[in-house]
């Protein structure tokens, strides 16, 4: 037997918005992701050209060499719109917050070998600036991207990178008794230390990349493709023999985030490459150039942390990026 609450049933006159029904192929109930994403961006009859760049329209397909018949061919496999996005991130952050609390309460950082504490300061803390660069680049992609589907994933990624930069900064504050001295030193390293100049140069060069899709590939596939496995797996493992357990806990957010980034990014690349051989060729070119650069730029810091193991780590990282790209139809 089942319970049945009697309700006043009123037949709806339509099940979703017209533009959504058109994309679904029929008037049927749509998801919140679909209603909150599809066709939101204006596409035509713009009134004025930007005074800051009169060569383009406010929303303009020609801001990338990539061509798509339909810029909503890509849909976020995570189905994130603002509501689900903030809820998902809050959940990740809640776990991270508990790690911070636990480590702080048990003074666990002190259990880490002092030489390794110093090492963490040297390799991790300058990365707050790298993350800030990733924030700028994703913000730029979100600004210039065509269509809400891609623009919103890039905006979420931009905010995430600010969040990660802040997590890294908090690690610094744990290590320096909240004086901020470690962060000041990390900035000096970022600006002056030879170990970091390749990374900083690459980051600054990425700031002036004109084509937003190239920038998206450079930042999220190539640079992040090196950073997330190198810093949060290889370096993490290297820390194990130095009492690096607290760092492993704090790395959890970044490890999860790296996996989450791959989900949307690899799907986006796959959809884009499948559209045309021209798209695939462009993506291959960008991925090749920027992956080479990223490997080269991060090699000094890899050697600093992993010593003789750096070559092996970088080779496996390169293979991983190549494999992922291949799965998306991109040859590196």
């Amino acid at each position: 037997m089942s319970l049945e609450i009697k309700t006043n049933v009123i037949q709806p006159r339509r099940h979703t918005y017209d533009h959504i029904a058109k994309r679904l192929g029929a008037d049927k109930p749509a998801s919140r992701y679909q209603e909150g994403t599809w066709d939101l961006q204006p596409t035509t009859n713009f009134h004025y050209r930007p005074t800051w760049d009169p060569s383009r329209e406010i929303y303009d397909k020609s801001l990338t060499a990539i061509e798509m018949e339909d810029w909503y061919s890509f849909n976020d496999p995570r189905q994130l719109y603002y509501g689900t996005y903030t809820m998902a991130r809050h959940k990740m952050m809640e776990a991270e917050e508990n790690h911070f609390k636990f480590i702080n309460k048990s003074n666990m950082m002190a259990s880490m070998n002092e030489a390794w504490q110093q090492k963490v300061k040297e390799f991790l803390l300058p990365m707050r600036h790298y993350e800030w660069g990733a924030n700028m680049n994703n913000c730029d992609c979100s600004d210039k991207a065509y269509g809400t589907a891609i623009s919103q994933v890039a905006l979420f990624a931009a905010m995430d990178r600010l969040g990660i930069a802040q997590i890294i900064s908090r690690v610094g504050l744990l290590l320096d008794d909240s004086t901020g001295k470690s962060l000041d030193q990390a900035k000096v390293d970022w600006m002056e230390n030879d170990l970091w100049q390749g990374v900083r140069r690459m980051t600054e060069d990425s700031f002036v990349v004109k084509d937003w899709f190239e920038l998206l590939v450079a930042q999220n596939l190539s640079m992040d493709g090196v950073v997330f496995p190198l810093f949060y797996q290889h370096f993490d493992e290297a820390g194990q023999q130095h009492g690096g357990a607290p760092m492993s806990m704090l790395n959890e957010f970044m490890q999860d985030w790296g996996k989450d980034e791959k989900r949307w990014l690899d799907h986006l690349l796959k959809v884009t490459a499948a559209e045309s051989p021209e798209n695939a060729a462009l993506l291959s070119k960008w991925a090749s150039v920027w992956t080479d650069r990223a490997i080269e730029a991060f090699t000094p810091i890899a050697s600093h942390v992993l010593g003789g193991g750096a070559d092996e780590a970088m080779t496996s990282i390169r293979m991983e990026i190549t494999k992922r790209a291949q799965k998306s139809g991109i040859e590196i």
Partner: protein, 505 residues
């Protein structure tokens, strides 16, 4: 013990370390190449560190607060849908305010999201950049939650089915669209002056708030819950608006005349767009909140007066033509409603002549003008409709080159004479509805001659065809359902059936 010895950072210091500390001056690439757009407007910034963070939210706190608000909001939206919340509104005429909101205002939230993303990348100061990025993602929240709240109404009422398509095409929606296009095509400082200051700070109580109060008064729980949920976001946006103004004014006195001109421009452009809100408040709400005149007196004359008194120490004067705008508050809602009454066959919402009690309310709220100028006209239109001669205007109106409203507004000292101004540019004549719009045109004619004026475009054959029904199909209107008089509309018919059914039950 070890824990106690640790020095706890103050909020301000901690926030500064977690945001401003992240940025650096680039050396491998020229800063002017990395940030190419933040100095061409003539605003001089000596020290970006002089920026006072208007609110201090790190991402962990942002995700926490916002996800909690979202959970609560979607619970209400779900329950509203499950319980047929639309049956609890005062009257189906109310839904026309939502149609105006979803097609006219929600797309602006999207434009705001993209505009703040742009400036959130382009300012070279880290402080303003972070504040703008947070507003960008907030605005994405607003457009998405509005679409989700109104999704239920779309299932039961006409005129809500194609907001993005209509926003890009329909004649009266070019008023809000051109407003935002204007802001987005301006430089980053002007963008913040227009949207953060004029729109969010000075005018928000006359735009966002009336719609939400209207929802509260008319039993629309879904929309009013959205309004409450967005309130703390809006408060943050307002503080950003005030900060950017103070920042520019404090950095260099040469910024003052530029900021003043932007304030004059965006105040006027804002009040023009508010004509749509004015008629919504006076005519479209079955249960009225307050008259437009009262709202103007409280939120502009009093609150705005205090604000500009405060800014006077920087050498800022109240916006030019504020006196004319205040005179307009007596007339603008009636004139705007009349324009839409004329052209409701080409609009995606219904119009009607208010009932007797509603006319009495208007007479009471506008004692010196309504009975003299507007009531007789409405009573005449009512008589004509009842005699089977509902009036529709079959000609196309001339539009103001700047605000794009049909040139139906009058001289405010003589409400029987249409107001218009003429400018010449490159040998052509351009018409504007007012001195305020003419000033805006004359300062940047090369910008405003680009305007995509719907009536011109229809006459040029760019809008689906030569006949009005062709154009309306191009707008994606369901003819006979989305448009025309409210009396006799499918919305009205269904509403009456639902109410009759409820009474029976």
């Amino acid at each position: 013990m070890a824990e106690k010895r640790k020095k706890k950072l103050g909020i301000k210091q901690r926030y500064s370390m977690l945001t401003r500390g992240l940025g650096w001056d680039t050396t491998y690439q020229d800063m002017d190449k990395v940030f190419p757009y933040d100095n061409y407007e003539g605003i001089i910034i000596h020290d970006w560190e002089g920026w006072e963070d208007p609110f201090r939210l790190t991402m962990d706190a942002y995700w926490k607060f916002q996800s909690e608000k979202e959970k609560k909001l979607y619970a209400v939206i779900d329950s509203f849908a499950q319980n047929n919340g639309h049956l609890g509104i005062t009257d189906a005429r109310y839904v026309n305010a939502l149609k105006l909101f979803l097609t006219g205002v929600s797309p602006l939230e999207y434009q705001a999201a993209r505009g703040f993303t742009h400036v959130g990348r382009q300012f070279r100061g880290v402080g303003p950049r972070v504040a703008c990025q947070m507003q960008a993602i907030d605005e994405l929240r607003h457009v998405q939650t509005q679409i989700h709240s109104m999704s239920h109404y779309n299932k039961y009422f006409d005129g809500l089915h194609s907001a993005p398509h209509m926003h890009d095409r329909v004649w009266y929606l070019s008023v809000p669209k051109s407003f935002f296009d204007d802001a987005r095509t301006a430089g980053p400082f002007e963008f913040l002056t227009s949207i953060s200051f004029a729109f969010e700070y000075v005018l928000t109580n006359l735009l966002f708030v009336p719609f939400m109060s209207g929802a509260a008064f008319n039993g629309d729980m879904a929309t009013v819950t959205f309004g409450f949920s967005a309130q703390s976001d809006e408060a943050r946006h307002m503080t950003l608006g005030l900060e950017v103004i103070k920042f520019m004014l404090e950095q260099d006195e040469r910024n003052i005349p530029i900021v003043q001109r932007w304030m004059d421009k965006w105040f006027w452009r804002g009040t023009r767009m508010l004509a749509l809100v004015a008629m919504m408040m006076d005519y479209m709400l079955p249960k009225r909140v307050m008259s437009w005149r009262e709202a103007w007196d409280i939120y502009f004359t009093e609150a705005g007066g205090a604000l500009f008194a405060d800014l006077a120490r920087y050498g800022i004067k109240p916006p030019k033509y504020a006196d004319i705008a205040t005179k307009e508050a007596e007339h603008i809602s009636h004139q705007a409603w009349h324009i839409f009454y004329n052209y409701t066959h080409a609009a995606a919402f219904h119009t009607w002549v208010p009932g007797k009690e509603e006319l009495d309310w208007l007479s009471e709220k506008y004692p010196t003008t309504f009975d003299k100028y507007y009531r007789p006209r409405l009573e005449y239109l009512d008589k004509e409709e009842k005699a089977g001669r509902r009036f529709y205007n079959d000609t196309l109106p001339m539009l103001c080159q700047v605000c794009q409203i049909p040139m139906g507004f009058t001289d405010m000292d003589d409400p029987t004479t249409i107001s218009f101004e003429v400018s010449e540019y490159n040998g052509d004549k351009y018409h504007t509805c007012s001195l305020g719009c003419k000033d805006i045109f004359d300062y940047e004619p090369a910008k405003y001659v680009q305007a995509w004026l719907p009536v011109h475009q229809i006459y040029q054959g760019n809008c689906g065809g030569a006949e009005v029904p062709d154009v309306l199909k191009w707008y994606n209107f369901n003819l006979g359902a989305d448009n025309l008089e409210y009396n006799g509309s499918p919305d009205q018919k269904l509403w009456d059936e639902w109410q009759a059914h409820r009474k029976k039950a």
